[in-house]
Amino acid sequence: MKRNLNIHINHITRVEGHGSIVLNVKAGRIEKLQWNILEAPRFFEAILRGKHFNQLQSITSRICGICSIGHSLASLKATEAALGVEISEQTVLLRRLALHGENMQSHILHVGYLAAPDLFGADSIIPLLKNEHKAVINIVRIHRLANSMSDLICGRTTHPLRFCVGGFTLLPTLKELQSLREELLNGIDTLRNAAESIQAEVHHLPDFSRETEYIALTAENLYALYEGSVASTDTGIHPLSEYLSLTNEYLLPHSTAKFTRHNRESYMVGALARFNINATQLGSLAKEIAARFDLTSPNYNPFMNTIAQLVEIADSMEDSIAIIDELLARGLEEEQPEVKIRPGRGIGALEVPRGILFHDYTIDEQGNCSQASCIIPTNQNNANIQKDMEALVPTIMNRPQKEIELTLEMLVRAYDPCISCSTHYLNVEFT
């Protein structure tokens, strides 16, 4: 019998922000399938105009309560590029450490609190306290470790206080770094145990595959997060200066958020994109976790983005230990960064938990920002979520309605969208 579906889910839970999906199926034919983003724009780019360069990173940090460190760092990179400020190797190491802290914080929040309940067949992490309390304990412990790392390097867990143009206003002590190193070492077994719990339930992830274009930073000698060139699985490596022709933002009548496209109708950014492009550069612990889940590059199942995040937590832990070792060996020096005002334009790009983030500023003769543009990962994933849904729905159309709803929600959750960050929203409506 040809299927009719008329389902409306107003709020998808366990994502950051709000959004909707509309699906109309009549006599087995999809009449409407739409990822709707309704959240009001927040005008951060307009807020930045006229602001002094010293204020930009603290303002843009407020774009997001999850990836505030990433926004601050992208902002600093764009500002420093515009002003021609050189930063020290020590600053690069500490910023990489801060970014690892955020990556761990955000990824464990998504893997543990938002996505894992789907695997365990629960509505939230709370019912897991009864039967899966060991998994919950391990997840909370990793979250705490990530928080204390961000707290130490940034001055607090969210919205960094210690960043400034050219460097840091306050450095951690060597003793504090040593203590963090111990915590990270102890955390490795906690992560292995959490991975074991998730592995036992990973078969609940839908077996779905759709090849798309993947875009992420790439670098020669490390798994790129803080720096690198832009790589596309379709078109190869591009300099950062080409970012506008890689992202091509556009508007749709039904969305308050922008969409992007490059070589195809859509592309994907985030942990799976990074894994597909840079997997060979992962450390041994990350490779061990990936092998546990049979995750190999390339992988075209967007649901595996959650597992790629788990792999990245391992890499962040391992690389953080290596960075701390380097800082301990070289010692920490108080620096007085030299910052001179000069007019110019600068682009800052880095990998934040949900994918590649671009900030692009123009600074005038007075040191004020005269133009600003921010291209956020979730915006870049919107078109890919839509195309995934279009490929997925025909394969699940004959399943019970509740299962269709759950599968679509899981797909959205797999992208770990930060809708507030991109001023976007999700809402599923089948009519």
Partner: protein
């Protein structure tokens, strides 16, 4: 070393919901009589509260709570009482934060040795950045109650 902490929970942009953080900022203005005491603005907390509770030996959580009292009235509950009250009323506007936080802290074996929940009956929970007049007028009473709990905790 674990500390004695007062955690104010709530959103000051939602009228009386913000009584917890408002009280914390008032208490922070007083000189501390012991360096083992800390005041924490728990905001709308969620999982953050789990991490905060782990650092405390004694915790006093101040929150707007509907326990069926008159606006401005307050009561002090133990965690066990809180769960039983929750079964017959909506209790906290931060139901998830508080009760679930306590559940997670228990599973983590990190629940403070002594935990008091000071629930203040709200009058207005709505978009406004000030308390209702009745709660505003009762702040000295709430402060006194918190100091009394702190005094007995530090003795």
């Amino acid at each position: 070393m674990k500390k004695i902490g007062v955690i104010g929970v709530g959103n000051p942009q939602m009228g009386d919901d913000g009584i917890g953080p408002v009280l914390i900022h008032r208490l922070n203005a007083f000189p501390l009589f012991s360096d083992t005491v800390c005041f924490i603005d728990g905001g709308t907390g969620g999982m953050t509260l789990v991490h905060e509770l782990a650092k405390l030996y004694t915790a006093i959580i101040v929150d707007a709570g509907d326990f069926g009292g008159k606006p401005g009235e307050f009561r002090i509950f133990s965690p066990e009482e809180l769960v039983s009250v929750k079964q017959f009323s909506g209790f906290s506007v931060h139901e998830w934060d508080l009760i679930k936080t306590i559940e997670i802290s228990k599973v983590m074996e990190e629940l403070p040795e002594h935990l008091h929940i000071m629930a203040i009956q709200p009058e207005t929970i709505a978009w406004q950045s000030k308390l209702s007049k009745i709660l505003e007028s009762q702040i000295p009473v709430y402060e006194k109650a918190v100091w009394k709990l702190l005094k007995s905790a530090t003795e």
